[in-house]
Amino acid sequence: MTEYFFISVFAIVALVVVGALLALSTILGPRNPTPQKLIPYECGIIPREEAKGRYPVRFATIAMLFIIFDIEVVFMYPWAVALDQLQLFGLIEMVVFIAILGIAYVYIWGRGGLEWD
C-alpha cells in the first residue's frame, strides 16, 4: 500500500502544481483580444468557409422528400405482418394513411417540388 501512497502524493502534487500554474497564468497574464487574434489562423487571410469545398446539390430537396416518404413505409411492415388479424378495418386504416400521404404527394407535385433543377 505504501508505494500507492507515494504515487498518489506525487500525482496530487503534480496536479496541484499544474493547476496552480495554469490558474496563475490565466488570472495574471495580460489579455487584450482583438478580432485579428481570435481568428483561427493569426496570419494569412480570414477563412471564408470550411476547408472542404462546397458545390450546389440540386437534388437536396428531392432527397429530403425521399426521406419523408421512405420512412413512412416503416408503418406498413407491422401492418403487413398482422394483416390477416387486422382484417378489413386494418386495410381501411392503411388506405386512409396512404391517402393522407397521397395528398402530401399531390401537394409536392403541384408545387413543383419534384422538378429537377
Binding site: 468557409e49 437536396a60 430537396t61 429530403m64 426521406i67 419523408i68 420512412i71 413512412e72 416503416v74 407491422p78
Partner: protein, 101 residues
C-alpha cells in the same frame, strides 16, 4: 451469454450523452441536428432493448414512431437550414445573432 438490462441502459445513456454534448459544443446547425438524431437513436435503442426484456410491444411501437418523427423533424430542420444557407452563405449559429435585448 445474455446481456443484462444494465448493458442497454449504459449504452443508451452513453450515446445520449455523446449526442447531448455534441449538440452543445458544435456551432454548425447541421451537426447539431445530427447530434439530436444520435440522441433519438439512443432512445430507440433503450426502447427496443427494454421491449425485449419486458416482453411488451409498446417499446417497439414507440421506436417506430420516434423514427418517423425524427425523420420529419430532421427534414424540416434541413429545409430551414437550407433556406438560411441560401440567403446567408454561412452556417455558424454564432453569426445568427441579431436579436438581443
Amino acid at each position: 451469454m445474455t446481456l443484462g438490462s444494465e448493458f442497454v441502459l449504459i449504452i443508451s445513456a452513453t450515446i445520449f450523452c455523446i449526442g447531448a454534448v455534441g449538440f452543445l459544443i458544435r456551432k454548425n446547425p447541421l451537426i447539431m441536428l445530427m447530434s439530436v438524431e444520435l440522441m433519438l437513436n439512443s432512445v430507440n435503442f433503450l426502447l427496443i432493448g427494454y421491449s425485449s426484456f419486458l416482453k411488451s410491444l409498446d417499446g417497439q411501437i414507440f421506436a417506430l414512431v420516434i423514427m418517423t418523427v425524427a425523420a420529419a423533424e430532421v427534414v424540416v430542420g434541413l429545409a430551414i437550414i437550407l433556406t438560411i444557407f441560401r440567403t446567408r452563405h454561412d452556417l455558424n449559429v454564432d453569426h445568427i445573432n441579431v436579436l438581443k435585448g
